[in-house]
Symmetry: C2
Subunit: 201 residues, 2 copies
């Protein structure tokens, strides 16, 4: 990678932490200059505006969060096990960009704020709903999942439950709410989602 | 109420909307001057700092949200019905301060930001957990609720599920996620929380 490319990458990584922790309005260019050791001109050489930088920072933060969510999912053949692992990844694995879930932060920050950041958060939500829905659809096809389960509804329930629990856990500074959501969703998947196995005669 | 008291109240109400929609950093004193038609000096006559105003605005927003949450709860004698009504109030009733749930917004805004706003959000969470826990404890005493239900855990599960669904609903600009959470929690309360009534012989 060129020196310019490396500098750009470093700005994006620092901006991802800054905006994820402080929000778009709360994260100032002065903070970013301090974090990167660059002058304002050195930052704006790579980004046309604070908004352009915030969009790149969100994409970076979401991409790294997605890697955490998807960790080791491919190793599991069963769809219900995949959903449980995805939930466990969210509850147990530390994200590499500090400040909590970029989707939750940006959704709340931008819902009455920056329009393009809001669109980016909505796109991330859709992407996550699609990932979960595809896992659930695979489970329906292989009859691992009960035929009355709606993929989009179950995906949204899992996402909402985890994001809300994350908000509570970050506020309480303990993992009780996240562990409670994990236990609840695990029982729900076992009792209401997983297809009952036919006994071999 | 004195003229000064009325002016103070008007500033708080305008600031509640501004900070709930834009966050503490995103809501500027310039915006507030526009909204209230007051000069900066006219605002600072009533509040020693932007932080002091934001704290009063949060208290106002949370108080009005709580009134919405608690609407008609007293009319219902049964604890499980009370929980369902509380969930329905959150899903169906429009809050009087625009911008979504003040607890969710302030928790996300302040978790890496203003320390005193963060404390205020934590206090609001505790207060809400206590309200739900008391309803659940009443249900345990009257044997309306199964004896293995943990009041704090169930309270936190309900709060987290609704707050996360609210985030998704506000981002998608439809009520699907909230209605999904309401249906899920309703089934869960019926199947796993409500005590099985003994049949009269």
């Amino acid at each position: 990678m060129s020196k310019g490319g490396k500098t750009r990458q470093r700005i994006v990584a620092e901006a991802a932490t800054l905006f994820n922790e402080r929000g778009f309005e709360g994260g100032s260019m002065t903070d970013l200059m301090k974090a990167t050791g660059l002058e304002k001109g050195g930052i704006y050489r790579h980004f046309s505006s604070k908004e352009a930088l915030a969009l790149a920072a969100f994409d970076f933060a979401w991409q790294t969060a997605t890697q955490v969510h998807m960790h080791d999912l491919d190793l599991l053949p069963n769809s219900v096990d995949k959903l449980k692992r995805l939930i466990a990844n969210l509850v147990e694995r530390r994200p590499s960009v500090p400040g909590g879930c970029p989707l939750l932060n940006t959704a709340i920050d931008a819902d009455d704020g920056n329009r393009r950041l809001r669109e980016r958060a909505l796109r991330a939500l859709r992407q996550w709903q699609d990932v979960l829905s595809e896992i659930i659809k695979g489970g329906l096809e292989r009859k691992e999942i009960r035929s009355d389960v709606d993929p989009k509804k179950l995906a949204t329930l899992i996402i909402g439950s985890l994001e809300g629990a994350l908000m509570v856990s970050r506020l309480e500074r303990n993992r009780d709410a996240l562990l409670g959501a994990q236990a609840h969703l695990g029982s729900y998947l076992d009792s209401e989602v997983k297809a009952t196995q036919c006994k071999k005669s």
